[in-house]
């Protein structure tokens, strides 16, 4: 398997380099066969990368410890369902995974655009293949996942060997969330290369109008949705396994995934302005460039960069390689932009500040504001460490205090934007639309204060969330009513409204998902209650309105761990309302503990219990908390996916006849 795997990555490198060089040479010298050949080579990189990945997975499945990567990330007692996780648990395998994803995405992107972007596609192909070649090269030279295991030999030398067993998988990765969280994050970050390549390829070909906008929008939404889902599942993983009761810690590795996602959020909004109004062309290119470079920054930080995190591949020497690639990406992206920026001017100026264009622009500024605040929080410790001997840590309060108000402003814009018309809106029209949502949001705020809520920021935040939801409901109501007047029932009319403009209404569903996340964030940030309990068996302690009784403990010994499962009875008043099972395991080989929180989840609040220590006298040390509205964070996930699917679902194509086609009727046809 090692032979097949290594041959695949070497072959992949050669084919990707050929595809990149052949595309450009074929285009420049007008050699059609070379362009087609290079395109086919680009398609081939996907099965080649998959062959490499298949070889590595097969090596894990057969416990082939002659491969060092398999030895380092698995052992014989590892549950088989974690073979997939072990595949990308280290640098080499995760790079192979990224290469596979990028190769598949590139092949799809090139194939789907072969007609619409025929003129610029050779450049797009070259850019994608150059990026892919970089990943193959890193594996061939610096992080070969198929290198042989070595053991100490005579005279201090290292000789190839086949150990009886491997070191095992990192215990923190043995969680169902790990099945999808890292793959989605890596795929989302890698996928940003596709819209970037469409845009940069079009610029290189001198296509400086809006030819690339559709393709970049669709591929941008795909990578953005994958990344967003990965971030949310990562939050769920942190909530259930890391044992500190939170889901987002502004950890540098979390931040480097969030920043490209925020920038892509800005892009998928402002690209609509370009498509609709022929404006923001320069701005959209800049956003894509920033997102792409931030994705490379993420790779740099994640793969042996100077930051240590629970999520990173610490100790890797790849940091400098990825730093170099990031700087190269930066120079290339903005080099192409400055080469063509004179031709990127907007067709028309902004006509009014009360317009959807300006709402989108404001949304973009806020999103970029949050991005740069976060970036500063990530790089500031690095700068201070570089400039002095001391180390400065930028902690959660900085991010919360600076980004909190920006997020609140963003939510408010999310409510106002949809009622803004393109070009200009009248104050009268806006007033008519906003009166009801604003009035009801203010009433909701008053009701919260009367009900005893004493956190001003929480009251404001909940009111803004109510406002956003009400605006969306109002637009759906009015549009549905207008459509229902033509006949038919309201349900069909509402579905007709959604289907009639899928990007817009899919976007609204995504907005509802964001509101749902924000609902959970406000609840857990402002109203959580915590207690540290030390309990003997049969004893109980209180947290919030709950009482926890330590019922019993089960101990399980395995060759790689000692696991303890605590059973706790949960009472409210004198009523027993359930049982919680909280799990704690210690892995001596890794000198690492892993926990599974016991969680009783309802739409109102989570009761969350983590065992932190088992004392010799039999007492159990627990950290317990009540996390209001936490369930809404996870409910947002499916809503987000549904909204994205609606936004991406193709509109029925309008088949417009060529201008010179001489037909009397039926000039426009719809095709599903």
């Amino acid at each position: 398997m090692a032979d097949l795997g290594f041959m695949a990555i070497v072959l992949g490198l050669g084919v990707a380099l050929y595809a990149a060089a052949g595309s450009i040479a074929g285009k420049v010298y007008g050699a059609a066969e070379l362009v087609v050949s290079a395109r086919r080579a680009a398609y081939l990189t996907a099965p080649i990368a998959l062959a490499g990945a298949g070889a590595l997975i097969a090596a894990f499945a057969t416990h082939d410890f002659s491969i060092d990567y398999v030895f380092a990330h698995s052992n014989r007692v590892m549950d088989r369902e974690f073979i997939w996780v072990a595949f990308y648990a280290g640098n080499g395998g995760s790079l192979l995974y990224v290469t596979c994803v990028l190769a598949i995405m590139s092949a799809a992107a090139i194939h789907l655009a072969r007609r619409r972007l025929a003129d610029s596609l050779p450049y797009t192909t070259a850019i994608l293949m150059a990026i892919l070649a970089f990943f193959f090269l890193v594996m061939v030279v610096w992080a070969n996942p198929f290198s042989h295991t070595t053991c100490p030999g005579p005279g201090g030398s290292q000789v190839a060997c086949v150990p009886d067993d491997g070191r095992g998988i990192n215990p923190l990765l043995t969680h169902p969330g790990m099945w999808v969280h890292p793959p989605l994050l890596m795929a989302g970050l890698a996928g940003i290369a596709v819209p970037f390549a469409y845009a940069a390829g079009a610029l290189a070909a001198g296509r400086t109008r809006d030819e690339w906008a559709d393709a970049a929008r669709v591929s941008g939404i795909v990578s953005w949705a994958i990344l967003g889902t990965g971030i949310l599942i990562g939050a769920w993983w942190a909530y259930t396994i890391l044992g500190w009761g939170g889901y987002w810690g502004w950890d540098p590795i979390e931040n480097v995934a969030l920043m490209p996602w925020l920038t892509m959020t800005a892009f998928i909004h402002s690209i609509m302005v370009q498509k609709r109004r022929g404006m923001f062309r320069m701005w959209n290119i800049v956003l894509l460039n920033i997102a792409f470079v931030l994705a490379q920054f993420g790779m740099f930080i994640n793969r042996g960069g100077p930051v240590v995190s629970v999520h990173s591949f610490a100790g890797s020497a790849l940091g400098q390689v990825f730093l170099g690639f990031m700087l190269l990406s930066l120079v290339f992206a903005f080099g192409v932009f400055f080469w063509r920026y004179r031709w990127l001017k907007s067709d028309r100026p902004v006509e009014s500040f009360l317009s959807r264009e300006v709402a989108f622009l404001l949304n973009n500024f806020l999103l970029l504001g949050i991005t740069f605040v976060t970036l500063w929080g990530v790089v500031f410790p690095l700068i201070t460490e570089f400039a002095s001997d001391g180390t400065v840590t930028v902690a959660t309060p900085y991010f919360n205090r600076v980004n909190g108000p920006l997020f609140l402003g963003l939510l408010a814009i999310m409510g106002i934007g949809p009622v803004m018309a393109w070009r200009r809106s009248s104050m009268r029209s806006l007033g008519r639309w906003l009166l009801l949502p604003v009035g009801l949001a203010v009433l909701a705020a008053a009701a919260m204060v009367v009900a005893g809520m004493r956190e001003p920021l929480a009251v404001v935040a909940f009111s803004v969330l109510a406002f956003v939801v009400l605006v969306i409901l109002e637009e759906w109501f009015r549009s549905t009513r207008a459509r229902a007047r033509a006949g038919g029932n309201w349900a069909a009319a509402w579905l007709g409204v959604i289907a009639g403009n899928r990007p817009r209404h899919g976007g609204y569903i995504v907005h509802l998902a964001i509101v749902t996340v924000a609902f959970g964030v406000v609840g857990t940030q402002f109203f959580d209650q915590r207690a540290d309990l030390v309990l003997k068996r049969g004893e109980s302690g209180a947290v919030g309105s709950y009482r926890l009784e330590y019922a019993n403990l089960k101990i399980e010994e395995r060759s790689d761990r000692t696991a303890q499962l605590a059973h706790l009875n949960v009472y409210r008043g004198n009523d027993r309302i359930g049982t919680l099972r909280a799990w704690h395991a210690f892995y001596p080989d890794f000198r690492q503990a892993s926990v599974r929180a016991g969680i009783r989840s309802t739409p109102v609040e989570d009761l969350y219990v983590v065992p932190t220590d088992f004392l010799e006298d039999g007492r159990l040390v627990l950290r317990a908390s009540v996390n209001p509205l936490a369930m809404w964070l996870w409910i947002a996930g499916p809503v987000f996916v549904i909204g994205t699917a609606v936004a991406l679902w193709p509109q029925p194509a309008l088949e417009v006849r060529p201008a010179k086609a001489q037909v009397a009727a039926g000039l426009v046809r719809g095709t599903a």
Partner: protein, 124 residues
């Protein structure tokens, strides 16, 4: 076994990459025909925007004056695209496009019929 699969994979890759040179096909993709395709696609987008503007107007999101102004702008853009496409085809067909505005209105009406809900399309 692994080595054999690797060699076969390499041979297959070389064959697929070399095939276009064996069966030569023609010009480099791109050029006037793809530009015409882009223009037709852009025209389809404009017709879709016309329909959406009508929906927004009937829902009260866009006022009457703004509706007219935006509708005029969309018509002008569609007419420009139509003329540009016709000019692109001049070399092929030889004759100029007859009455582009009438053609445009017909296309907008057809697009409206395609995009409107079934109940709006049925005769009353």
């Amino acid at each position: 076994m692994g080595l054999t699969i690797g060699v076969l994979l390499t041979l297959a890759a070389v064959t697929v990459i070399a095939w276009p040179f064996v069966r030569r096909r023609g010009a480099v993709p791109g050029g006037p025909s793809s530009r015409g395709f882009e223009l037709r696609r852009a025209r389809g987008d404009i017709y879709r925007q016309v329909r959406q503007l009508e929906v927004d107007h009937s829902a009260g999101l866009v006022g009457k004056a703004e509706f007219r102004s935006q509708m005029d702008e969309l018509r002008v853009t569609a007419a420009r695209l139509l003329r540009e496409e016709a000019a692109l085809q001049e070399g092929d067909a030889g004759q100029p496009l007859a009455d582009p505005m009438a053609r445009l209105e017909q296309e907008i009406a057809d697009a409206r019929a395609v995009l409107a809900p079934a109940q709006e399309r049925s005769p009353k």
